[in-house]
Symmetry: C2
Subunit: 154 residues, 2 copies
């Protein structure tokens, strides 16, 4: 089985999302829209021991790098995640995800009566009240949305 | 990164589902009801090179073994899968999944008018017409259901 793991562990070019909150890798995969049908090599490790946290998840995606919108989506669910960009088998860039103080247009307000859910040309806007646990406050109606509300949208 | 992969690759007791049709590991994870919140160590490899097939997926689940109903569910989506039971770091049992010719009670008929979808005490029953691509024929109404119908139910 060691030969098999070698295949899996090394990626030439791609992205490693590390230090995802333990148990949330499948949520990260979901919000990135990954189904497996993309024919990319993907490795997902869930609840592995971590020095920094007790348990963490890791997602490795061969080929392609994440766009800023995707990085913000990850930050919503896994505020401690680090993104490693791999080029030619080496870590070329490493950065921590960071939620911007204002989140625009990525998620919808969970209040059906909110003006951002009407037909008006209004972009959703949230202030980050808390990163972990996630609490976002709608700019328009003051409604507080949580991680579970975010997950339901992807 | 090699130390990290070592953690991931070795499981003491558990199940390795190997030779899953390339790109279908997340479907297997879904039908097994795994979310990551179970706190078990799980590794998922998608679209890795395979000698037998061009690409394959692997799912490793630490702790616990699958029950026959779960094995049948996997067979529906990944007819070439092999199940390795790991005990004390060694492969204790190895078997290929096999669809029984008659599938009872696991999935629902996709025909809303089928008697198995009424309030009658009738268990669903399907004959396996083809394993790959999956085609199941309802015993009661003759309706043919495909892989996508099965996936929608989990």
């Amino acid at each position: 089985m060691s030969e098999e793991m070698l295949h899996v562990s090394k990626i030439r070019n791609g992205t490693v999302i590390d230090h995802i909150t333990g148990g949330h890798a499948l949520d990260v995969v979901k919000i990135l829209g990954i189904t497996g049908q993309e024919k990319k090599v993907i490795t997902i490790a869930i609840n592995v021991p971590s020095k920094l946290f007790k348990r963490k998840d890791i997602v490795k995606i061969e080929g392609g790098e994440l766009n800023p919108q995707e990085v913000h989506k990850i930050a919503l669910l896994a505020p401690h995640a680090t993104i490693n960009i791999i080029r030619d088998y080496k870590v070329a860039e490493k950065h921590r995800v960071k939620l911007p103080p204002l989140i625009e247009g990525i998620i919808k307000c969970a209040n059906p009566a909110c003006i951002s859910n009407s037909n008006e040309p209004v972009k959703s806007r949230f202030y980050v009240e808390s990163e972990d646990p996630l609490l976002l406050k709608c700019h328009y109606c003051g409604y507080i949305i949580e991680k579970k509300n975010v997950l339901q949208q992807f």
